[in-house]
Amino acid sequence: MSSTFETVANIIAETCDIPRDTITPESHAIDDLGIDSLDFLDIAFAIDKAFGIKLPLEQWTQEVNEGKATTEQYFVLENLCARIDELVAAKSA
């Protein structure tokens, strides 16, 4: 988890020009860090490449829009990192 978070935080800092020390596991990418959907495409591209996965952004967006999930489940960074770890584990299973 910690290494996943470090990687993701560094990607966000570099991609969105956000000071690294302001990014914490509790940060909400949208509400706290102000990342918009276009910037998040860049982040998703970098995360996909770094971890060899494909973040299911469309599925997440649909779940949020339909009220089946909250943005916190996917966009609070510790939760995002947990999803990434799950995807990495599923890939190597």
């Binding site: 495409l41 998703a44 591209f45 996909d48 490449k49 494909k54 973040l55 952004l57 469309e58």
Partner: protein, 157 residues
């Protein structure tokens, strides 16, 4: 090419069997209303339209990959380089290559040449979305025929 109506591609020359690369061509016309302003007496292809041409080339590749299931919309232009002037009568060779296909987006690198000389290049990101309501898909399919896109290979009968 009819830049005044944003028809930047004349012909899809080839699509790689891996669906990761495409080659298109567009001949810059001798006459176009865009040259009335860009520039009077010195017609030069606008750089933004060179980027549009590279985006359309990439767009045909994305449509081939998803078999016209969804429409790519240009979202980000990065590292755009416009190396030299392009004038009426020159034939652009447009090449695009997929770098990554994510969930609902595609990243590609693209460049254009004229007689082998590098003209322009960029990295482009597209959102790939369901077709909007209305005529857009029908219009795009008609343009596909005009540009010799191999529809029979990529659209179910």
């Amino acid at each position: 090419m009819r830049p005044e109506v944003f028809r930047m591609i004349d012909r899809v020359v080839s699509i790689d069997p891996s669906l990761s690369k495409i080659h298109c061509q567009g001949l810059v016309p001798e006459e176009s209303s865009i040259f009335e302003g860009h520039f009077p007496g010195h017609p030069i292809m606008p750089g933004v339209l060179l980027i549009e041409a590279m985006a359309q080339s990439t767009g045909w590749l994305i449509l081939a990959r998803n078999r016209f299931d969804r429409m790519p919309f240009l979202a980000t232009v990065k590292e755009a380089k416009l190396r030299t002037f392009v004038v009426p009568g020159q034939n652009l060779d447009l090449h695009s290559e997929i770098l990554h296909e994510g969930s609902g987006f595609v990243v590609a690198k693209t460049h254009a040449t004229i007689e082998g000389r590098p003209i322009c290049a960029a990295e482009l990101t597209f959102r790939v979305l369901p077709w909007p309501e209305g005529r857009m898909k029908t219009v795009v399919m008609k343009v596909a025929e005009l540009v010799s896109f191999p529809l029979k290979d990529f659209v179910d009968a």
